[in-house]
């Protein structure tokens, strides 16, 4: 560029060719602005796609951690006729609200500071209604040694979870609860009750049920008896990613959660029916699109092995 200023005066008449004309500059700026507009559009659409993908990935990661934890806990659940379960049943219907579950499982937990640790913990999952998060209780239990150490060792029926550890069955606080996920806002579960063939050849088909035992004629059980009739637990959860979560108030999210139906096989008999109802409630809610695009529904079927 320096050479331009060393042009002798004799060639100044050719100055036209040393600089751009106004037309050239105009054309160049037009082309540049057109390109900038095109690239900006490209970037904005790429950003929106990536944002949506990131939201989805965030809830996926959180849901996978939660559902995998549930798979471990359900897989190591103690299935015995002589222990208590706090689960959805005719006595604890859990309708119109998020569900809650408490049971004994062979998983580690937070043990008391003294005493011999047993391999059994009391595990509970609940939605904290005030904080809108899912909490998991992992209360490590001690060997009782035959003593009646209250609230520290596994107990057998007729002692119940509700009687010994009320916090596992309601909204009371307990130091062994930990927040598992603050992105989940709806938690429902139900059972797949096994089909049975009666001695006379009558087939009772497997059913979705809110009762963890088979009440149908011919078998007509009346208690859970270590999940003897249950083939699987079906869990449905709705999650919202953290970017969308800050855009919506607790009240609106609770209202949306309340509009999402309970696990009810009489109304939603087929796989996916409940999720469809949930999705339609999300789509028809008054929440902005930027919020509803961050909501994902997951369903997992946990087979109980016996």
């Amino acid at each position: 560029m320096r050479s331009r200023f060393r042009v002798p005066a004799s060639v100044l008449k050719f100055q036209r060719s040393t600089a751009f004309t106004i037309i050239e500059v105009l054309v160049a700026t037009t082309v540049l602005s057109l390109m900038i507009v095109l690239i900006a559009q490209l970037f904005s659409s790429a950003t929106s796609v990536i944002t949506l993908g990131n939201k989805r990935m965030e809830t996926d990661v959180e849901a996978r951690a939660l559902l995998d934890r549930m798979a471990i806990d359900f897989g190591r659940m103690i299935q015995r006729a002589d222990v208590d379960y706090f689960v959805k049943s005719p006595t604890d219907a859990m309708t119109g609200d998020n569900d809650q579950i408490a049971f004994y499982a062979e998983v580690p937990g937070y043990y008391p500071s003294s005493g011999s640790q047993s391999p059994v913990s009391l595990v509970a999952f609940r939605m904290n209604a005030s904080k809108l998060c899912l909490e998991r209780l992992g209360k490590g239990l001690l060997w009782s040694g035959g003593a009646t150490a209250s609230n520290t060792a596994m107990v057998f029926l007729p002692l119940t979870i509700k009687g010994e550890w009320p916090a596992a069955t309601n909204q009371n606080s307990d130091s062994n609860y930990e927040v598992f996920s603050s992105q989940i806002f709806r938690f429902e579960y139900g059972y797949v009750v096994k089909g049975q063939t009666l001695p006379d050849g009558t087939m009772l088909p497997s059913i979705y049920s809110t009762t963890p035992w088979d009440t149908r004629a011919g078998v007509a059980h009346t208690s859970i008896r270590g999940f003897q009739d249950v083939s699987a637990i079906v869990v449905s959860i709705a999650m919202i990613d953290s970017k969308s979560r800050v855009l919506v108030s607790d009240t609106s999210l609770s209202a949306l959660a309340a509009s999402m139906a309970d696990f009810d096989p009489s109304q939603y008999p087929n796989p996916g029916d409940l999720e469809k109802q949930w999705q339609s409630q999300i789509d028809s809610s008054r929440l902005p699109k930027s919020v509803t695009s961050g909501i994902c529904i997951y369903r997992r079927t946990f087979s109980l092995t016996r």
């Binding site: 560029m1 040393t18 849901a63 089909g195 796989p271 999720e275």
Partner: protein
């Protein structure tokens, strides 16, 4: 790019970049940009695959539970149909594999025996021959997506082999 050519130094030939220089520069930049932009679809595809695999696994767990929850027949070994997905289980001992049962699932997990506009996954349930009437029933489950694609050309798939007791 200023090559020391004293003879040309005073002339205006080297006042700016030459057309060739600009073309080469543009070529290098576009080469780099193409490589960078090529990374975007890779990321999108892998996240989509992860999402689809999660959905397919949920379908497999639901279908396997359905197969397992179906009661044995009396007398044992007769053909039966599962309750939730209406999958026909062949009578034991199966000497030949019956035609696979095909289902199409939407993103909410609803199953249909035909393709819909919102179908996302295709499930095929194939029952394998088993040795005798009291042997385990063998099933090969394969979920592929997208639903409309031929399984051989699917974008992705999740498979599961299941053996369950129907006695």
């Amino acid at each position: 790019m200023r090559t020391p050519q004293p003879a040309l130094r005073t002339s205006r030939a080297r006042a700016g970049f030459s057309l060739v220089e600009v073309a080469v520069a543009l070529g290098i930049i576009s080469f780099a940009l193409v490589a960078i932009f090529a990374l975007i679809p890779v990321g999108l595809t892998s996240s989509q695959t992860a999402i689809a695999q999660t959905g397919a696994n949920d379908i497999l767990s639901a279908v396997f539970t359905d197969l397992r929850a179906t009661p044995p027949t009396a007398p044992v070994g007769q053909s039966a149909t599962t309750q939730r997905f209406q999958i026909p289980i062949p009578a034991a001992a199966a000497t030949t594999s019956p035609a696979s049962a095909i289902f199409y699932f939407d993103s909410e997990g609803q199953a249909k025996s035909y393709v819909q506009a919102n179908s996302r996954y295709r499930l095929s349930v194939a029952f394998l021959p088993n040795t005798n009437a009291r042997a385990a029933t063998l099933a090969f489950l394969k979920v592929t997506w997208p639903a409309l694609a031929d399984p051989a050309n699917a974008a992705g798939s999740v498979t599961m082999f299941a053996a369950f007791d129907r006695n």
